[in-house]
């Protein structure tokens, strides 16, 4: 097809405009506010939403004047009958358009958690800007907005601080649990497993924590600390479990990556054992209609320190350490299970999911799993193997005692 030059240019212009259509959704970096944290509280009948936004000038490495004269992050608060309403109304506070695709953490206030989180979760999972790479936590004894107002040491953006803190403690300590939106929704939708979220507390002087003074000190006046987990029945929080119990849940759910435990020596000293690998296997047997739940754990550990006088060169010592480790882990899990059964009455261990998977026929006869769980027999069989004992053989105590 041969066209006149003028027609060609005309066509080019027309076609050019088509390629600009993508610019409808353009959001320039200097026109958006990057939301890193979101807090949800309930005030009367309305939701109070706090969003924490990175203060771009303070966190950029270049052109930083006066060593942080401005706060590294800004937290805006707005109330609304629904979450989206509060967000939209936020435009009267924020000079820039909010962008949620870099969200690091969502904090639920304890009151909203106790009243139910179904309503706020809908918007969070329906909105297309939200991703699945942020964690969800519950503020313990505080409102979400208090958490998001506190200055954090080291990583000056509190939400980032909270995110990495949770990831690292989940990885090394197992006394917390990082839970993502998808996981939470699955837990809430699944019959045989109740949801759990790690708790966050503000320690120390909250008044000072809200000022920059907090970050000027070597020992921060206030800090944000993870502690225990909030337990949910359907979408309502019904109570707290402590750190050891959270660890027990992690053991059973096979989500312990590494952790550390202590056992006592016969002479009163202590040995620290660091778990390097843990694999759990839940087997369900049916005794008529009541399930018998067997949890098999295979744990590999290293000896981190020996603060007592034991002869580490003997095989029998290692066997003894293995046995103590097994008792300790079994003990933690047994205690957690009996407390959860007795006081909370919901299955946060996910045994019901295993019953469903392994005994589907029996599962369909069960009407209320939590009721069955409260009376189910759970046996824990830990099996511990010691792999390494570090770089020295005998304990310092063994080497130095009675030789001066």
């Amino acid at each position: 097809m041969v066209l006149k030059p003028r027609t060609r240019i005309g066509m080019l212009v027309v076609i050019g405009t088509w390629f600009l259509t993508g610019c409808w959704d353009r959001h320039e970096l200097n026109a958006i506010a990057i939301v890193v944290g979101m807090g949800i509280d309930k005030v009367g009948n309305e939701f109070r939403v706090s969003v924490q936004i990175v203060n771009p000038r303070e966190v950029s490495s270049k052109g930083r004047g006066g060593g942080g004269s401005l706060a590294p992050a800004v937290t805006f608060e707005e109330t609304g009958a629904t979450l989206p309403e509060a967000m939209r109304r936020m435009t009267v506070l924020s000079p820039r358009r909010l962008n949620f695709s870099h969200l690091r953490i969502i904090v639920f206030g304890e009151d909203v958690a106790r009243m139910g989180i179904r309503k706020p979760l809908d918007y969070i999972s329906r909105d297309s800007e939200m991703r699945n790479d942020f964690y969800l936590v519950v503020a313990e004894g505080a409102s979400a907005s208090e958490v998001l107002k506190t200055y954090s040491a080291m990583d000056p953006i509190p939400s980032n601080n909270l995110n990495t803190k949770l990831a690292i403690s989940d990885d090394l300590w197992a006394g917390t649990g990082k839970i993502t939106l998808n996981q939470l929704l699955v837990d809430m939708a699944t019959q045989g497993k109740s949801a759990m979220m790690t708790g966050i507390r503000v320690t120390g002087n909250r008044k000072v924590g809200e000022t920059m003074e907090n970050n000027r000190r070597i020992v921060p006046e206030a800090n944000l600390v993870y502690s225990g987990s909030a337990v949910f029945k359907e979408d309502r929080m019904i109570g707290w479990i402590d750190e050891a119990e959270t660890k027990a849940v992690n053991y059973v759910q096979d989500s312990v990556k590494r952790t550390l435990g202590i056992v006592s020596c016969p002479d009163g000293g202590k040995i620290s054992l660091s778990v390097v690998q843990s694999k759990s296997n839940i087997r369900i047997r049916m005794n008529r209609d009541t399930p018998i739940i067997n949890v098999y754990l295979r744990v590999e550990q290293d000896v981190s320190d020996v603060e007592c006088n034991m002869d580490m060169s003997q095989m029998s010592t290692i066997d003894w350490i293995n046995l103590q480790g097994e008792r300790k882990i079994g003990d933690i899990i047994d205690k957690a299970i009996s407390r959860v059964k007795g006081q909370l009455g919901v299955d946060i261990f996910g045994f019901g999911v295993e019953v469903h998977r392994q005994q589907p026929k029996a599962w369909h006869r069960i009407k209320d799993w939590n009721e069955v769980f409260r009376h189910a027999q759970v046996n824990v069989y830990p099996h511990v193997i010691t792999r390494r004992i570090g770089t020295i053989l005998q304990s310092v105590e063994h080497q130095t005692k009675g030789r001066g």
């Binding site: 088509w18 993508g22 790479d133 998808n182 929704l185 699955v186 998977r357 392994q358």
Partner: protein
Amino acid sequence: MFSSQPITNRSFTIMVIFFMIGTSILIAPNALALNAKQDAWLSCLLGVVINLLLVWLYVVLGERHPEQTLVGYSEKLLGKWIGKFVGLLFALFCYLLASLMVGDMGYFLTTQALVETPIEYLQMLFVVSIVVAIREGLQVYSRVVEIFFPWILLLFLVLIVSLAPQFDLDKLKPVLEFGMAPVMKGSFSFFSLQEMVVLLMLYPFITKGKGRGRGFIIGTLIGGIVLVVTTMGSIVVLDYTQTANNFFPTYVMAKNISIGQFLERLEGMMMLIWILSIFVKVAITFHAAIIGIAQVFRIDEKILIWPLAIGMIVLSLMCYTNVIYVQHFLSLIWTPFASVFMLVIPLILLGVSLLRKSASVG
């Protein structure tokens, strides 16, 4: 519009793979999980088997009339008027299908990525590129498809491999919890989403010989494997509850990729796979509609392209009032409706063709 040179078997096979992946990769897991829960992948597998059987039927039919399209031999077999009527219905089916997919594309982009862009402009841009492809002819766009193919394959493999750490295979248990009924129900609504019958309109333009039919079947099989793997991936990453409640579960699945905190935000790859495969599928389907209408009315194909392309946008906006409407349409009406064109018409044509042959022999 066609050069005399036929399409090679290789590029035909690749076109079949794209056609099979088509829209299904993004929307099928949702409906499958809604019906079959954790057995969605079994449902998908069964749907692929049904498709293979259908394709076998198409190959038998196509090989009996190696020089003609479906519209062509329906006129020959069923007589001038009935044949033309059936041919026209078939062409309109292709046309409706193409515009539904344009609607799918627009809704996906405006829901997940370009929230503020008016859907009309996205669809216009998309349709213009389709028109360009079709004006250039089957020869040209079949080569384009060959160029796309290694990229799609690579992106798909990268997606699956980088999601592998998050696979929780226990989520597939218990297998067949509610028996075969929900699995069959899922596959019943699934198999009609691939519409392989459309390719019979292009069949005569492929290099003749054994490789043609084999390519059709192998392409369906490979595309089917991609779909089964994607469905399974969606279940083991997101759980069936979330697969069933997301409109575009595979896109959400790709959003979950996170390797070492730096290999993240790869969902664009999923979008690219989907846009490329839906582009190929819409191009082929729209082309089939044009060939069909042109053959029924004995007019030049070229005159039809622009008006029908514009009509396709309008039709897609009319069909796609909202996403719930389309879901209802797909789950309740589409399978029986599409089965008429995917199963009933080819079977009738094959039956008549066999009868005529035996009559002429006898």
